[in-house]
Amino acid sequence: MADLAIDPRIELNPTLVQGGMTYADVSEKISAITENKPPKQWYYLITISSLMTVMLFGCLGYLVVTGIGVWGNNNPVGWGWDITNFVWWIGIGHAGTLISAVLFLFRQKWRTSINRAAEAMTLFAVACAAIYPLFHTGRPWRAIYWLFPAPNEYLHLWQNFRSPLEWDVFAVSTYGTVSLLFWFTGLIPDLATLRDRATNRVRKVVFGILSLGWRGSASQWRHYELAYLILAGISTPLVLSVHSIVSFDFATSVIPGWHTTIFPPYFVAGAIFSGFAMVVTLMTVARWVYNLQNLITIKHLENMCKVMLATGMIVGFAYGTEFFIAWYSGNAYERFAFLNRAFGPYWWAYWTMLTCNVVSPQLFWFKKFRTTPALMFIIAIFINIGMWFERFVIIATSLHRDFLPASWGYFKPTWVDIGTFAGTIGMFLTLFLLFLRFLPAIAMSEVKGVLHQQIEEGKGNH
């Protein structure tokens, strides 16, 4: 760690750990969350979220037994909320990897107290996202293995590698796997801490197995740091590739409004935007519930607000560019597609998107909004909504009116659409609450690394 931490180019933020915390305080504070009974709010939340999860499985069961017809999908809108939700969840997943890997490579020390939770969030978001590509198929019992190049009785029967949906299968599964490894690798020293602090047999055994024999020796640390660095290196291109490939689902098609070269960067920026919004949403609540103000400081939150402001403007710029190019191309179908977005039957979705994604983050120019958790929570919620609508606008409004006016239609969600979406939110929250309850939500070892520097420079309170 030392060689990384004492890099002179890095401006160390003296206030990353506040409240005069010591190493022991850090261990105590974070480990205690997993060791003691959780606060009342946790029980309320998990009751609601697990009920929502049950609803998810109910809706999915009904879907599989009855058919896609229980959703609002139709001809011409073959994809509705299903793929909207898929892209939205995948996008949310992006912040985790970005915070963990990219900021790690860029030596952004402020990531330490939020990266663990952000990575967990990534995993859970990917899990939620993965539900949709599978269950949106008409015959999921076939799709579950026909989408993978599994051996079959027909030797020549392969997947279609020209299909972006096939690319998605690989992109998302790779992303999920690497994110899981990265997250777990990061967890090892902290799991060892929990093991060492364990007072009962169950915790001892479970954390003993999970910590993979971690002793904290210098050589272990040396290997560990290297492994972590390599995984960060592997993860970083994935941040760009996953959402680029997801955007190919649309960009490689012929449908006006989909057929756009701007999609890969625009989707990546949007993903980071929505991912940070979700991290802020969760973190502002978690630090309040668990009293983590000293670890997840205002400084952390402010940095995330700045990222949202920047990516929000990239997204806004992309919206403008799309319109300009649609006009500039001289293609009547393109022009219509974009005018139809803003002024067609789905105008309300478009303007909701624009307000939430472009207008609301502008408030982050004001320090007050960047430093007040309640305000940033509200704006982050707006961004979450806006980013959902962005995907809906791209998918549904492009499809509902494409080339031949005779085939135009309209999409209306059913209660199963709503139930499935709400259900994945429930599942996501359930997984996140379980994570908060049973695993160290803040990377203790990394925070101690930061604390170490603060102490070295005399800013700590040892």
């Binding site: 058919g67 001809n75 073959g78 008409g138 020209r162 098609s253």
Partner: protein, 998 residues
């Protein structure tokens, strides 16, 4: 052959047998007449007939065998038939699994269409037109296509019933023998028979027998939409009882006065064929005919017209008068009535000039909603134009025909006076469809003896004492004469599924004719032709060809005394009174209600409004604005104390102050499909306002009603989708249709595929010929086992039709013009759907087909999204899961029935392609010749607008069409290289009127 089914009566009755004798009932022991009869019936008449006939027996036997085979699974719903033949001795020529084709004929509204029916293992599965029949020429229409589904309708009548209890045919026959006698009914003064229009020579003979038996009885032939007025008008004009025939292929100028002769106001197949022949253009500079239309409702004919005038139904007569005056055909006798608009005057002036310039080569035709006086006037105009004998010929009516409306008025008085004691309904559904003032349904309750022979458990069935199951025309022997007199034999394809009898057979029972089997009667009728030596030959040839040679009626010389006509009609042609009028039209879906329980027809979108599963009252935009109505408003229409409720919809191009109402909906007693679908408008119909009612009051109810359409957007948004030009423009600049969109650069990232070898399938659709009649849509549904989804699912945008008819309006809402475009899978060479499927379930065949592997499809719907034409159809739900067992018999065994979760779409009827390729290979690897393979949509098309074939063969029709300068690709600019191309629509406007428009 006979030995196989040699019936030994002694074995059945048990008489004279040696050994121990068993008896099955006391009746048997007693050997009562009932038992004797039962024993004879152990072998149903048809079976014995088919076998005992010599000569024709092989065909009959094959058919019976196939029928029995198909029925093997049906034993649960009918009593066992003991005529199963051993398959171990297979018949020559019959290959299990290979379809067989038989000629038959379908009667419809007094006319007939010759058919070739495909039978698979004894089940009729697909209907095609008989090329040898003059009113089919190989084509059919949507109704005939759908009738095969009607055969397998699980809601058909299945049982002879008396007063709600079970009975049987023997009981009915016994009752009939006792009741329909001179002793009981006297001369028949209190006896009424109501049937549909009779086209059958055999039934005419039986009818004559019956009326001889009961001279005072009345047999009313009623149709909801009939051409009685046309015939009456012809009689007024010519002084003879004649049937007019319009030869549209000989006319350069056609003027339709409220006559949807391309749609439901005629036997549309032949007129469409004749008309479209004159719309086909091989090269720039070819002539087209010119069609003018004056009508209230937007009809198919109106949509094809080069000039269309919006006129109330009630004003059509005045318009005809104005035209006659303008043509100056006679002079002073004519008094133009009503103050016509400027637009109308100009229209008439230009039209008159055009007609006068095409003497002997024009047609003026009026529709069934017009009075006999208007028709007489129209014939006089035609006579003045020299069209009689040229473009309009007459034939003598083969028999006397009564005006059914006059008969109904009489019936109404008789019923209310209690003068009617016996009513027999032979087919049709008068309790539903008779005009309201006849009060038939209510009066029926007071009639002592009522008998109804119906195909389904309809209103008339429910109101009758004796309820008899009617056999379907595909199940029964009969015959039918087409409008020109050509007679055909209606031969059954299958034993009656539910033990029904035909109208002919029941009429024979009433007439006391022996034997009463349809087969015997038809044979006897047929035998009356030709010498005894030739009879057998005539019969066999009639069965084989589907037409009886030489049965066509010779044309009659007719002269029209214009002066007499003018005197006769003067004062009888009046302009419409002010206020709202309501006019009644047959529905393109259930027609007059007879197809109400046919799901294919209910889901076939109305050609203009695209409404499914409903009828709506159509009004013009101006009328709607004046009455503050919007689409879906439920209104109450009333006249003379009768009222109906119906939703309204605004129809572009509709005449002001006119409401178009469609018959055949809102059935109270119907099967599971048609029950309560739509709103019944018949309640507003009376014998005096049968086709149109003036002075109708409209009141908003304040409620709204959900109308579901398959098309929600009606304008092309300036896109070059349906391309049209005028004949003159095309002549001057042949490339203009092609140049309406950019040509693609042809570059592709994918490897080059050589499509220059072997068969390469392609299609060309002539938009100039297509009238948008839905025949292709229903034919495709029948051929390809396409499910119906119901109103709710159509509302969600999930209709399954593989070919749809896109209809666009151009021009203003008031004077909108209509273009129609059949749209199915275009089989793109660079198919956007293929590259996106993750499991490669849709791929290109070496012959250029975009194939769908249903088994491989996982249903991501990505292909649907990426299809620029949106012609792919997804099985959102298990549409075929709850299909009734009997309906499954209608499935085409060559096409898989798709499960939920998979995508499907038009395949160019790949099963037909493969079938013919196999046959050609079996013939010694010969090459398929052009036209050998016809897609289902092509085969049915009366306009012959769809041409399919091998585009690699430069001599093929399709390749030649694609060479025309007006051939273009829809969305070809996307570089997807569709194999289906369209021939641009050409209009032939009158330059004089065109100037006005500009």
């Amino acid at each position: 052959m006979n030995s196989i089914v040699q019936i030994n009566p002694t074995r059945i009755t048990g008489k004279q047998s040696t050994g121990k004798q068993y008896w099955r009932s006391l009746n048997e022991v007693a050997e009562t007449p009932e038992f004797q009869q039962w024993a004879q019936r152990a072998f149903p008449d048809g079976v014995a007939d088919g076998v005992t006939v010599d000569g024709a027996s092989r065909r009959s036997l094959l058919k019976l065998m196939a029928a029995s085979f198909g029925l093997a699974g049906l034993t649960a719903c009918r009593r066992p038939v003991e005529n199963i033949l051993p398959f171990s001795r297979a018949s020559e020529g019959y290959i299990h699994g290979k379809p067989m084709h038989y000629a038959t004929v379908a009667a419809f509204n007094g006319s007939a269409t010759g058919l070739i029916v495909e039978c698979n293992d004894g089940r009729p599965t697909k209907i095609e037109g008989n090329p040898k029949h003059p009113y089919s020429l190989g084509s059919t229409n949507a109704f005939l296509q759908a009738s095969v589904l009607g055969l397998y309708d699980p809601d058909r009548t299945r049982q002879v019933m008396r007063r709600g209890g079970r009975s049987n045919w023997d009981e009915f026959a016994a009752f009939a023998r006792g009741y329909f006698t001179a002793d009981r009914l006297g001369d028949g003064a209190a006896f009424r028979i109501i049937s549909e229009k009779v086209a059958s020579p055999s039934l005419e003979l039986v009818k004559a027998d019956l009326l001889k038996k009961f001279p005072a009885a009345q047999w009313i032939e009623y149709e909801s939409v009939n051409l009685d007025a046309v015939r009456e008008g012809a009689a007024m004009a010519s002084g003879q009882d004649v049937e007019p025939h319009f030869l549209f292929d000989k006319a350069d100028v056609v003027f339709s006065l409220d006559c949807d002769f391309l749609g439901l106001d005629s036997s549309s197949i032949l007129p469409v064929k004749q008309y479209s022949r004159r719309r086909k253009v091989e090269k720039p500079g070819d002539d087209l005919n010119r069609l003018y239309s004056a009508e209230a409702n937007y009809s198919i004919t109106g949509s094809m017209a080069d000039h269309r005038l919006r006129v109330k139904v009630g004003d059509i007569g005045a318009l005809a008068l104005a035209l006659a005056k303008e043509l100056n055909v006679s002079g002073a006798e004519l008094k133009v009535v009503g103050g016509a608009s400027d637009k109308s005057n100009k229209f008439v002036a230009a039209l008159a000039k055009d007609l006068a310039a095409h003497k002997g080569k024009s047609i003026v035709i009026a529709g069934p909603r017009q009075s006999a006086a208007v028709h007489a006037l129209v014939f006089a105009i035609n006579a003045a134009l020299g069209n009689i004998g040229q473009t309009i010929v007459f034939t003598k009516s083969p028999r006397e025909r009564a005006n059914s409306l006059e008969q109904l008025k009489q019936l109404a008085t008789d019923l209310s006076a209690g003068r009617v004691k016996t009513v027999v309904v032979l087919g049709g559904n008068p309790a539903y469809s008779l005009p309201a003032d006849v009060g038939f349904a209510e009066a029926l309750k007071k009639v002592a003896v009522t008998v109804a022979l119906t195909e389904d458990e309809n209103e008339s069935w429910a109101a009758s004492e004796w309820r008899l199951p009617q056999s379907h025309f595909l199940e029964s022997w009969g015959d039918a004469r087409a409008l020109d007199g050509t007679a055909s034999i209606q031969q059954p394809m299958i034993e009656p599924l539910y033990g029904g009898k035909s109208v002919l057979e029941v009429a024979a029972i009433l007439a006391g004719r022996e034997p009463a089997s349809g087969y015997e009667i038809v044979r006897a009728t047929c035998a009356s032709q030709g010498s005894p030596a030739e009879r057998e030959k005539i019969w066999n040839l009639a069965l084989y060809d589907g037409v009886i040679g030489g049965s066509k009626v010779a044309t009659a010389a007719v002269s029209v005394d214009a002066k007499k006509v003018y005197t006769a009609v003067s004062g009888r042609v009046q302009p419409a009174p002010a206020g709202l009028e309501a006019a009644f039209y047959a529905s393109p879906g259930p027609y007059d209600g007879r197809y109400a329980n046919n799901a294919w027809m209910q889901e076939a979108p109305h050609p203009l409004t695209k409404v499914v599963w409903d009828n709506v009252a159509l009004i013009s935009k101006k009328t709607a604005a004046a009455l503050a109505l919007v689409d879906g408003d439920l209104v109450k229409l009333s006249k003379d104390g009768r009222s109906i409720e119906t939703p309204v919809q605004i129809q572009p191009g509709h005449a002001d102050d006119s409401i178009s109402l469609f018959l055949g909906y809102g059935r109270a007693a119907c099967g599971r499909v048609g029950q309560g679908v739509g709103h019944r408008v018949e309640a507003l119909r009376t014998t005096t306002s049968f086709f149109s009612a003036s002075g109708v009051e409209l009141k908003k109810t304040g409620e709204t009603y959900e109308i579901v359409t398959t098309q929600e957007h009606h304008r092309m948004e300036g896109r070059p989708i349906v391309r049209e030009a005028s004949v003159e423009e095309y002549k001057k600049e042949p490339g203009l249709i092609k140049e309406m969109a950019e040509s693609p650069n042809g570059l592709t990232m994918f490897p080059y595929v050589d499509y220059s070898k072997g068969y390469q399938w392609g299609m060309a659709i002539d938009l100039n010929a297509c009238v948008g009649c839905n025949a292709c849509l229903v034919a495709c549904q029948s051929e390809n086992n396409i499910p119906v989804v119901g109103k709710d699912q159509v509302q969600r945008g999930r209709e399954m039709h593989w070919i749809r008819l896109d209809r666009y309006y151009t021009g203003s809402d008031e004077e909108a013009q209509v273009v129609t475009q059949p749209m199915g899978c275009q089989q793109c060479e660079n198919a956007p759907c293929e590259s996106v499927c993750p499991v490669a379930a849709t791929n290109h065949s070496p012959e250029g087909l975009n194939d769908m592997a249903y088994n491989r499809c996982v249903g991501t719907r990505y292909c649907l999204n990426n299809c620029p034409y949106k012609v792919r159809r997804f099985n959102f739900l298990a549409w075929n899961k709850d299909v009734p067992e009997v309906r499954k018999l209608a499935f085409n065994p060559d096409v898989s029935v798709r499960m939920r979760g998979v995508m499907e779409k038009c395949t160019y009827c790949v099963q037909r392609i493969e079938e013919h390729k196999i046959a050609a290979n079996a013939d010694g690897r010969r090459t398929l010749h052009d036209g050998e393979i016809q897609s289902a949509c092509q085969q049915v098309c009366p306009a012959e607008a769809i041409v399919f074939g091998n585009i690699n063969d430069p001599e093929s029709r399709v390749a030649k069409l694609k060479q025309q300068p007006r051939n273009y690709e829809v969305l070809g600019e996307l570089n997807i290289r569709p194999r289906t191309t369209y021939l641009g629509r050409l209009r032939n406007p009158n330059p004089e009127l065109e100037k006005e428009n500009a």
